[in-house]
Symmetry: C3
Subunit: 217 residues, 3 copies
C-alpha cells in the first residue's frame, strides 16, 4: 500500500466518522432521511470544502472525487437505520471523532502550506478544516456550536496544526512525524474528554432577574 | 428570441420567485425593509453564489450581472409592501417555487458539468444551487431549514440533477431534453406537495421525561 | 507614513473593533475562551474572507497576512478578561463599531472595483464586507442577525458603497474623497443610533392566538 493510498483511506475514514456524527445529530432533531444524509454530508465535507475554497483549489475535493460524497452519504444513511444500536456506542463515536479531528487537522494544515499560505494562516485553515463540519452541523440543527462552548476540541486542533507547521518548516513531513502529530491531537482530545477539561468561561455578573429559575445560559 | 435570451429570462424568473419566498419569510419574522430585501437577495442568489465559488467562476454572476441583484431587490421590496395580498396567493407561490427549483437544478448542474466537475459532484452542486438559497433564508430567520425536515424537495432536485447528468453524458443538452428535466422536477415537487409525500423520519425511542408536555421536537 | 501604511493601520483598527464586538457577544453567551476568540475572529475577518473569495483573491488576506488574525485574536482575548470594565464603555464600542463600518465599506467596495467587478456588484460586496462579520457573529451565537432587524446599519453601508462607486467612476479615489465617504457612513450610523432611526417594518395582521401573551416575534 503506497503512502497516498494510506492517506486516502485515512481521509475517507475521517469522512465516515464525521458523517456519522452529523447524521446522529440530525436523527436526534427528527430530520427526515434526506436531512440526515445532508447534515452528514455537510459535517463530513463542509470543513474540507471551505479549506479548498480558501486555498483556491476548485472544484473542492468533495465535488471532484466521488468517493468522498459516496462515503459520507452511505455512512449517514446507515446511521439513519442503525442509530438505536449506535446509541450504545457513544464512547466509540467520541473516540473515532477524536481520530477524525487529528487527521483532518494534519491534512488541512499540510494542504494549506503546500498552497503557499503563510504559517499562521495555514494553522487557522487546518483547524477550520477539522472543526468546520461540526460547526455547520450545529448551525443546521439549530444549536449554538458545541465546539465554541465546551471542552478542549478546537484548541487540540489548533495546537496540532502549529506542530504540523513547525514540522513543515523543519522539512519533517514524512509519515512518522505527521502520524505523531495526529496522535497528539487525538490524545489531547481523549484526555480532555476523560478529565472533562474545558477552556475557561468568563465570569458574568448575576443575570438579570427576568427569568428566575432559568439555567445560566 | 434566442436560446440564451430565453435562458436568461427563465433564470431571472427563478430569481424573482425565490426572492419572493425569502422576503415573505422575513416579513413573517418582522424584519425591517432592509432585512426583507437582504433575505430575499440571499434566498434568490445564495445558491448561485456558492455554485460559482465552487466551480471557480469569480466574481459570481450575482455580482457580475446587475440584472440578478436588481431583480431580487425589486421583487423583495414589492413583497414588503404587498405581502397581505400575497398571503392569499400561497398556492401560487408554492407552484412558482417548484418551477424555480426545477430551473435552478438544471442550470446549476449544467454549469458544473461545463466547468469539468465530475458527474457526482455536478449533481450535488446542481442540487445545492436549487436548495442553497432556501437553506440560508431559514438560517437567517432562525429556523431549522425546512428543506431538511419536510416533504420531497431536495430529493426532487437531486433526481433531476441526475437526469441532467445522464442527458449530458449522452450529448442531449438541447432545449427540449433540458426543459423536460426541469418539468420533471417541477412535477415531482407538485405531486409531493399535493400528496404530502415526505422522506421517512427515523423512529426515536420515547423522549426523556425531563420536559413533560413538550412537543416531540 | 505612506498611504498604504495608513490604510493598513486603519484596516487593523477596524479588525480590532469588530473583534471586540464579536467577543463581547460571545462572553454574553457564556462561550469559553476559545469560543470568544473564535467568534471575535469571525466577526472581524468573516466579511473580508467572503469578499476575497468572491473577487477571486485566494488565500484571503485574513490567512495570507498574519497581522490580521493576530490583531483579532489578541483583541478578543483582551475582551475575555476585561469585559466587566467594557460594559461601561458601551457607547465607546458603538462609536468604534460605526467607524469600522465606514472603513470596511470603503475598502471592500474599492477592492471589488479594482478586481473588475461591475459597480452594482461592487457596492453589494462592499456592504457585505462591512456587515458580514456581524451576521456570522449573530448566527454563531444563536441570534437572528441584528443587522437585519433594527436601526440604520447596513443601509448606511450601502449608501456609502454607492458613494465610493461614484467617486471611483469619476476617478476621485484619493485619500480625501475616500475618507469623506467613510466619515459619511460613520456619521449616518451615529445619527441613526442617536435618533433611533430604523428602516420600516411591515404591518402584520394580528398573530394567530395559539400562544397568548407571547411577544409579537
Amino acid at each position: 500500500m503506497t503512502t497516498s493510498t494510506a492517506l486516502l483511506l485515512a481521509d475517507l475514514a475521517g469522512v465516515a466518522v464525521f458523517a456519522a456524527s452529523g447524521a446522529s445529530a440530525a436523527v436526534a432533531k427528527r430530520l427526515d432521511l434526506f436531512g440526515v444524509v445532508f447534515v452528514g454530508f455537510v459535517a463530513a465535507l463542509g470543513g474540507g470544502i471551505v479549506r479548498d475554497l480558501v486555498i483556491g483549489k476548485v472544484p473542492p475535493l468533495a465535488f471532484a472525487d466521488w468517493r468522498y460524497a459516496t462515503t459520507a452519504a452511505v455512512t449517514a444513511g446507515a446511521i439513519f437505520w442503525l442509530h438505536p444500536q449506535l446509541a450504545r456506542l457513544r464512547t466509540t463515536v467520541l473516540v473515532l471523532d477524536a481520530a477524525g479531528l487529528g487527521l483532518f487537522t494534519v491534512t488541512g494544515t499540510l494542504k494549506a502550506l503546500d498552497a503557499q499560505v503563510p504559517a499562521v494562516g495555514a494553522c487557522l485553515i487546518g483547524m477550520l478544516t477539522a472543526i468546520g463540519g461540526g460547526l455547520v452541523r450545529d448551525l443546521l440543527t439549530g444549536e449554538i456550536p458545541v465546539v465554541l462552548r465546551r471542552e478542549i476540541y478546537a484548541v487540540a486542533a489548533l495546537v496540532g496544526s502549529i506542530v504540523v507547521a513547525v514540522l513543515y518548516g523543519l522539512g519533517q513531513t514524512g509519515p512518522i512525524p505527521l502520524t505523531a502529530a495526529a496522535m497528539l491531537i487525538f490524545g489531547v482530545r481523549l484526555v480532555a474528554l476523560r478529565r472533562r477539561w474545558s477552556a475557561p468561561v468568563a465570569t458574568l455578573r448575576p443575570p438579570r432577574t427576568g427569568t428566575p429559575g432559568s439555567p445560566p445560559e
